[in-house]
């Protein structure tokens, strides 16, 4: 039992728990990858997390036991726990339970979301969350719908509802052939600013996931080479011009 004593019985579908994560929020973190995602981005770095039926079942207490083993490291490095996925808000009750446990243990908790989730679930999680890493992948609804099967209008509505909390950092995956051009990036930055976002992280596209697709028996057919960090400098400058604090990398 963890401290709050309110653990739901329903198990959580988890893809993996990764200690010493450095790319999902500040400091030393443990990232809990929850299973299942509503989007189907063809470059997805975690394709094994997409299927809602995949992963393994774990109980909240079990997850927290692992998370708490590194609590001292979080404290000494300004780190904490990040719930990622997949889309963690596809399991809203479990996520909220986990977040409450983190809060009770005094851990900094971040949620990485694609935003394609019911608004009430997002807002229910908000009081227990210290930081949202909120994806903005594109500024044109048709593009997001065609390529990722996402609904930009709904996502932006959620973003607007959340950004008043001041806990949002926008994450922009920089994908050549999808959004990595001046016009689209400018559009994304302007959108972010108009939603009240103050900070954005540009994530360079990489192809490390290629092997995962092979293991899953799927084709990895997104064309293009990994993007070097320094190639994103001009875009970062553009974002700063739009009024954002911009960092390259997670």
């Amino acid at each position: 039992m963890t401290s709050s004593g309110r653990l739901p019985d329903a198990p959580v579908r988890v893809s993996s728990v990764q200690r010493f994560s450095l790319h999902d929020g500040p400091g030393i973190r443990t990232t809990v990858f929850l299973q299942g995602c509503p989007l189907r981005c063809p470059w997805c770095a975690n394709p094994e997390t997409q299927d809602c039926r995949g992963g393994k079942e774990m109980h909240v207490a079990e997850i927290m036991a692992t998370v708490l083993r590194d609590a001292d490291y979080y404290r000494n490095s300004g780190g904490g726990v990040t719930f990622s996925g997949g889309e963690p808000l596809l399991q809203p009750r479990a996520l909220t339970a986990l977040l409450r446990e983190c809060k009770a243990a005094g851990l900094h908790a971040a949620v990485e979301t694609c935003g394609e989730v019911p608004k009430e679930d997002l807002l229910a999680a908000e009081p227990y969350t210290d930081l949202f890493l909120f994806d903005i992948k594109h500024c044109v609804p048709a593009e997001l719908r065609n390529v990722c099967k996402g609904n930009l209008e709904g996502i932006l509505e959620n973003l607007r509802a959340l950004s008043a909390s001041g806990k949002v950092i926008a994450r922009i995956p920089c994908i050549p052939g999808f959004n990595l051009d001046e016009q689209t990036m400018k559009g994304i930055f302007d959108l972010a600013v108009s939603m009240g976002v103050k900070e954005a992280h540009l994530l360079p596209y990489h192809t490390y996931a290629r092997d995962k697709y092979t293991q899953l028996g799927r084709n990895y057919d997104w064309p293009g080479e990994s993007v070097r960090k320094d190639a994103l400098e001009p875009f970062a400058a553009m974002g700063r011009e739009a009024g954002l604090t911009v960092r390259i990398g997670g």
Partner: protein
Amino acid sequence: MAKVNIEAAQNVEISKKFPCEKSLQEQLEIMERYTEVHRAHLGSSKEMREAACLEVLYPTLFRHIQDGDRIAGRLDFLPIGFGCVTSVGGVGHYCVFRKLKQFAAQLPDADRPRVDALYHYWEDHDVKTAYNRETLQEDILGTFIETAYPMIATARLSGMMLDYPTLLSLGIGGLRQKISDRLQEDPGNEFLKAGLRCMDLFVRCARHLREEVCAQKAGASAERLRELDRMAESLTHIEDKAPQTFHQALQLFWLYALLAGVINYGRLDDFLGPFLARDLREGRITEEEAYKDVRSLWTLIENRRTTVNGRIIVGGRGRKHPEDADLFLHLCMRVAKDCRYVEPQFTLRLDKNTSEQVWDEALDALGAGATYPTIYNDDVEVPAVAYGMRVDEKTAEQYVPFGCTEFVIQGESTGTPNICINLLKLLTIYMNGGVDPEDGRRKDGGVPIKPLKEYKTFEEFYDGYKRLLDFYLDLSARAQYHSYEVMNRHVGFLFTSLLMKDCIARGKALLDGGIRYLGGTNETYGNINTSDSLQAIKTLVFEQKKYTLEQLETAVLANFEGYEQIRQDCLACDKYGNDLDTADGMANDLYEFVAKGVRDRGIAIGMQYFLIVISNNQLNTEWGLATAASPDGRLRGMYMNPANNPQGGADKSGPTAMLNSLAKFDARYHAGSVQNIKFTPSMFNGHRDIIKGLFRTYFDRGGCHIMVTVVDSGVLEDAMVHPEKYPNLIVRVAGFSAVFVDLSPDIQKELLSRVLYDEQRSLA
């Protein structure tokens, strides 16, 4: 009695030594003279014999002053001579028979009989051989480094770190006076009389070196002339007077260390810092000149090429002059970063009060690939040493690591590791009914061992293994203690004794009852392979009941050939290094059994302390080559785990989990345990705050030590294929650093197997 191979390699030797400056004929003559003097003094006291023999060696064996030397003193050594340790020469009156044979092979045939005569004489008088003849046991206890044995022993006096503060405050004249005063109370005391001869010998050496310095003046540049003049002046000064300047202090310390034959140097910051501070304050020296002096010291230490020694320790609790000491510390950090030598083993002690500046300097040097400093956590070590060595905390504050990590109390204790034990080999012997699967020889020492099918519970099985360990641990304490008795019969280690408490006061050489704390250490190997094997047995045989013990043993004896599924199941069991209570708990249980067992036996036999060290130079690999397959899934002949780290690749949960596992052992029961960690430059240098948070947390949680290699992924692999491209690539092995391409391929592979932490790892 065991058959003794007197030509066995006696120690790990990776760095290549400089060839002797003397001609072969001169070398032969010195060895003959030494032998004659030894023979002529067989009827004298051991102290007088030693003094007479030292007078043959010094100052004869000093090399010429080299360009760039700012401190005088380089020594050669020969296959026959006098020493404390195996890495420079040998132990006591020694003959390194293997090297004597190599020497003979270079001589004209006519001279061979002269060498044969020497060989023959020393067969009966080499101190280590005498020890081996009395101590070794066929199939049970071998000599260094014979890996067919489960345990090996030697006679040596490693790791002495002298009371230099006393030397620097008294000077040679003052030390001489102290000996004379004591001699007046005890006029027949041979130790003290021989001590006075040592003081005379020191003076002769200082004068000899001054002549050598002056000989360099012809044709020297104006700048070099100034340096040589300063060296000559310092050498004159230290003949008698206590040092006044930083340079005099350095010169006195260095020359004394050479004559004592010690190769670890202690807390230089605390005893040299005040001299440096005063010179800087009074304008006698600039910081740049001091930097050059320290750099010269670094070079002199590197050039001794002891492979695993050369300790310079800075920082930590219990310094008498912390502010002055920090001036010296900062210089050392710069020198270590700039030089990137494999020696000195530059060591930083720190605690919660260590400044951010010192942390940053240390991480800068490590980030530059220096592998130094290696870092000890005083918040854990000081109370642990106090308990382990049974001394008060103030005394414990003067602990210093030497060699690969073993601790002594500076100026007050011995701690030489004269025993090594292979826990994994013993497990393979135990499981095979007392017979080593590697050579079919019985090595159970008569301990009764039941057939595997009779063990009904894991505890019964484990208990049987512990009975075999008991036999070996008993033997280890006796063999360690006996090494002191044998050495004491033959030698006084005069120069060393004169600077160790309480030898002069008691009028006794250090092993004759002079030393304040007679301690020792026992190196344990294969700890983690053994506990992981026990964990696999517990899981597969007694919990899951998937296999019987006999089935597991059959697979292991077949080196898992034809039993791949069993091996996969063994590998899949919980492994130490992943912060799991199961495997880490097993590792800790075994650790405490062995560590407490050794400690208790040391106390019982009359030592101040006898503690295990978990260090393992490169013996984890060499001994692994001679150890059968094991139930942790390790194949026959494969390296064993390094020091206190997991088997390479067994830790799959990232650095926090691994460090949590490492921090679980109670440091009170060992006298040094080293922990390796390896990062890519982008991880280590690109995330400084993360690294600091990582290390600080590890230390807060009870981590006692960390040593760091920073190397890019793929570089070690490439260096194995193209060694010529990487002449200066330094890596941390386990308790020492080495040029990677100088290591043998087996050891290179072991280093490669260790997990390299990179920032990319966390890109899911």
